[in-house]
């Protein structure tokens, strides 16, 4: 059989991953897509022993841990069998694998379907119709790889123009999923307690034990698959609260006496009736051991108790613990990093030979493996790293440095020093742009993910890209966005963070500069606003010069604020930009200070 190029895509991706309330939903959704893509890759090579995987690189499938989500949802191979036959086989294999994962989740976990047979049927139907699998094949004559690749991309795009969905056969007059609103809840309404139910606590507990659903959460079959899915390796994925608490956890790890204080705290929580079975996670910390970092946040303690008096007691116990370890409460913020290669499509288009495309895939595979190491090394949790995409949750104090390392690793992985360089037709190398969303740990996860994606888009809007964007979404006030090229924004933020840590930029400066910019930018008279630029600059310099450091005892010395002052241009926008960057840097510095125990 003549050689063909074969392409299969598995979706939905973005909508499916973003439909997440808990980090487990997010992580399992990512893992599931990666696992099904891995299955598709293996089905290709199983059906055709002579098949060559082009993307992802074969080592992505064979060498790396199957518990890592690292296989992109688009698989390209050169094959020697009929693509029509192969397409049907691959699709059948992927659907069968999903069905098996569903059975594992529904039958080997905690869900008791014994008196909910109808719900089980609906849940199965919902999972069965989840996937969108598209595949195509085109002839691959010798020396025609680039043409064949463009052709197959065009065919698959044309096929995707028709999204052939059917009607929802299971649709009934029941509440819809709290997570996406697209599917019926399969948990009977009778399982939910009413507001005045005398056994409310008991029923809430039972609901969680059986379905992993909160008292206000309605879950579909697809949601239950995310909550109860059993991935290989059973890795632990932390909660947003645990990530937010990590600067403090790192500090506690080396603090004498902290373990004793923690044990007292846990004993007190148990004494007042907390059920901590679900607060245990699969990792060990020298002080808090296997407990979730969420126990360090007063707002999360509320979930342990139904009544206000015990909530108050728990909050007092937490305050006593923090006093004992001489620490302020941890910041409730964490970072979501979403990064993606720039000019990857153009770089791929510029590769004429199949061998070049295979080599580029191999280098991207190397980057994905490095991404896992880098994120872990920064105390973060990698959700996904495949192809040129990375999604990770990070503590505030390490987020910027982690992003910088990923950026550098991407450049080195794609174009290692002294080896064949991959560039687009304009001779430009691919780069990595990243968006970071800094969010409150109780912010709904899907909203936080959307912020991270928006931040990434902002980075991608920068001319020539190779950019970083950070959005800080505090629960009070409007979001703060800072965006610029790599080597600019990250340098400035690192510098401002260092200044904050050295107490060279007192807290008020950032907010005074922002206030100044806001007051002067009022109105729609652009000429007047422009004319105020010089005055604003002078006032900003005066504010920075007037500010004192070392808790108000010593004036800032010129050399230490020179970098900042020099960057202030005679424009209100420049001052607003500096203020926003200082606000972000201040938060990063606070986390760093907490981790180091120097607050």
């Amino acid at each position: 059989m003549a050689e063909s190029l074969f392409l299969v895509t598995i979706g939905p991706v973005q909508e499916f991953i973003v439909a997440a309330r808990r980090t487990r939903d997010l992580w399992f959704g990512s893992w599931l897509l990666s696992e099904l893509s891995r299955e598709a890759s293996q089905a290709i090579t199983a059906a055709d022993a002579g098949a060559r995987l082009i993307f992802p690189a074969p080592e992505t499938i064979t060498n790396q841990s199957p518990e890592l989500a690292n296989v992109a949802n688009k698989i390209l191979a050169a094959v020697n069998i009929d693509p029509q036959l192969l397409g049907q086989q691959v699709e059948a294999a992927v659907r069968a694998h999903l069905a098996q994962l569903m059975v594992d989740a529904f039958d080997k976990g905690r869900i008791d379907w014994s008196d909910n047979a109808a719900g089980r049927v609906v849940a199965e139907q919902q999972v069965a119709e989840l996937l969108e699998i598209y595949w195509a094949g085109v002839p691959l004559p010798p020396g025609q790889y680039a043409y064949a690749r463009r052709q197959i991309e065009a065919v698959i795009a044309a096929r995707k123009s028709t999204r052939d969905f059917g009607a929802a056969q299971w649709a009934a007059a029941v509440p819809k999923s709290s997570i996406d609103g697209q599917r019926d809840s399969v948990i009977p309404e009778s399982r939910y307690p009413s507001r005045n139910d005398p056994e409310r606590s008991l029923r809430i507990d039972k609901l969680y034990q059986q379905y992993r659903a909160g008292p206000a959460e309605r879950l579909s079959g697809v949601d239950l698959l995310k909550r109860h899915g059993q991935p290989r390796g059973q890795p632990f994925f932390p909660s947003t609260a645990d990530i937010a608490a990590r600067p403090l956890l790192r500090r506690l790890a080396s603090q004498p006496g902290a373990k004793h204080a923690w044990d007292d705290y846990i004993r007190e929580l148990e004494r007042i009736g907390a059920d901590l079975r679900d607060e245990v996670v699969q990792r060990s910390h020298p002080v808090i051991e296997r407990y979730d970092g969420g126990l360090l946040f007063e707002s999360r303690l509320g979930e342990l108790f139904d009544d206000a008096p015990r909530q108050r007691q728990a909050a007092q116990a937490l305050a006593a613990f923090l006093r004992a370890v001489d620490s302020p409460a941890p910041q409730p913020y964490y970072a979501i990093l979403q990064a993606d290669g720039d000019r990857m499509g153009a770089t791929l288009d510029a590769q004429v030979a199949q061998a070049d495309h295979e080599l580029l895939s191999e280098r991207l595979s190397t980057f994905a493996a490095q991404a896992l190491q880098i994120v872990s090394g920064h105390d973060g949790a990698l959700v996904y790293a495949g192809g040129d995409d990375v999604l990770a949750l990070l503590p505030l104090d390490t987020a910027l440095d982690c992003a910088r390392k990923l950026h550098a690793a991407f450049a080195e992985a794609v174009n290692p020093t002294g080896k064949q360089a991959f560039v687009d037709r304009d001779r430009r190398s691919p780069t990595l742009s990243a968006g970071i969303a800094i969010c409150h740990q109780i912010e709904p996860l899907n909203d936080a993910l959307r912020l991270a994606r928006d931040a990434e888009h902002k980075a991608k809007d920068v001319d020539g890209k190779d950019a970083l964007a950070i959005v800080l979404s505090k629960r009070s006030g409007a979001d703060v966005l800072v965006v610029d090229k790599w080597g600019q924004l990250d340098e400035r933020l690192a510098e401002y963070t260092a200044c904050h840590l050295a107490d060279e930029l007192p807290d008020g400066a950032a907010f005074q500069l922002r206030d100044l910019a806001q007051r002067l930018a009022v109105g729609s008279d652009a000429a007047r606003i422009a004319a105020l630029g010089s005055a604003a600059q002078a006032e900003a310099i005066r504010i920075l010069g007037r500010k004192q450091r070392q808790r108000g005892t010593e004036k800032i010395k010129d050399p230490q604020r020179d970098g900042l002052v020099k960057r202030l241009e005679p424009s209100i926008a420049s001052i607003r930009g500096a203020a926003d960057e200082l606000i972000v840097a201040r938060l990063l510095a606070e986390a760093t200070r907490l981790a180091a125990g120097k607050e």
Binding site: A154, T162, F165, G166, A168, A171, A173, G181
Partner: protein
Amino acid sequence: MPTWIIEPRDPLIVRDGRPFGPDPGARARSLSFPFPSTITGGVRNRAGLGANGMFDHGQIDRVKRDVSARGPLLVELVDDAKQMRLSWLAPAPADALLLSVDDKTRAKILQLVPIASPQGATYGQVAGTTLALIGLRAHFAEKLLPAPPRFWHWDAFANWLLTPQEGERMLAEVGLAGPTAEIRMHVGIDPEAQTSFEGLLFQTAGLEFTGPKRRRLALAVATDTTFQHFAGGLAPLGGERRLVAWRQIDTGLPACPAELRKRIVERRACRVVLLTPGYFTAGFRPTWLLEPHAGVAATLQAALVGRPQVVSGWDLAAERITASGRREFGAPKPIRRLAPSGSVFFLSLPKDVDTEAIDKWIDCLWMQNVSDDDASRSEGFGLAALGVWSGELEPMEVN
């Protein structure tokens, strides 16, 4: 047939299917545009008002049976010295692909058309059909425009229906983004202490219809009924009982241009573009649309349909008995999957039918609801406009 203009005074909240209750951190998210059922529900509510201005529950069966609507369409309102004028907008047609160019105020527009599968290519076809692929005539190197206009000015849309021209355009001439999201944080206030209640914090996301430079957007809906006890004015609509202004105008929905009729008759082929989401019992594929109308039955050659939208809602008339034996009204409606507005169906018409029959067929479909069942058509799902199509599959050129 009267047309009503509904101008939201406050950000309009039209929620998706996610439950929204008095739970800490709850969020009411609005859809990006109201479904027809929401607006038709508003129309039926107005039609069922009694002389006292209150809705008469005894009218539920009558208004559901007798009151139908077409729309909503987005309109822009312009008040001049004498009267209010309006300009129509249409949802962006899915067969127009907008690409980025260096000048950010412009975009390059390409048309997606039914194409012949390239020699030797195979692909997983839509089960049980022989629908054609839909793609571009040629390979392109530009990036997709990140945020193309979601609504097209009617002139640009009408031109696209009649003579879809590829090339660069000013974005401002093509259309606009439409209503924007507006987020509000709400707290429960203890009236005695004048402080917020612990945990009673929730967020709503509404649709802001008044845009930059005081651009006024509104919804237009055509209905076949008059309201006995409502002549217009402020009334609540959607979530949180946000206020909208209702006013009746004489302008009807846009008519089918004569040249468009002529071209459809000549080619015995056309495009059907959905102006509101359509409900089809087979999912993405229409049935009623393909049944004979005026004696002419069309054949579906290709379907340009994105991922489904999902509508449910709350059925106020549904009766249920609670666990404690109490009789209560109201229940969630079953979901329906919808072909999104902007979807395009490519139809061929029989060659042997006469001109007059095709002309009548056009009348049966132009600005009519083409969903599969009576209830969905009555609610306004599947409002259709027609456009030209050559009827031929074009070759896919890959350079």
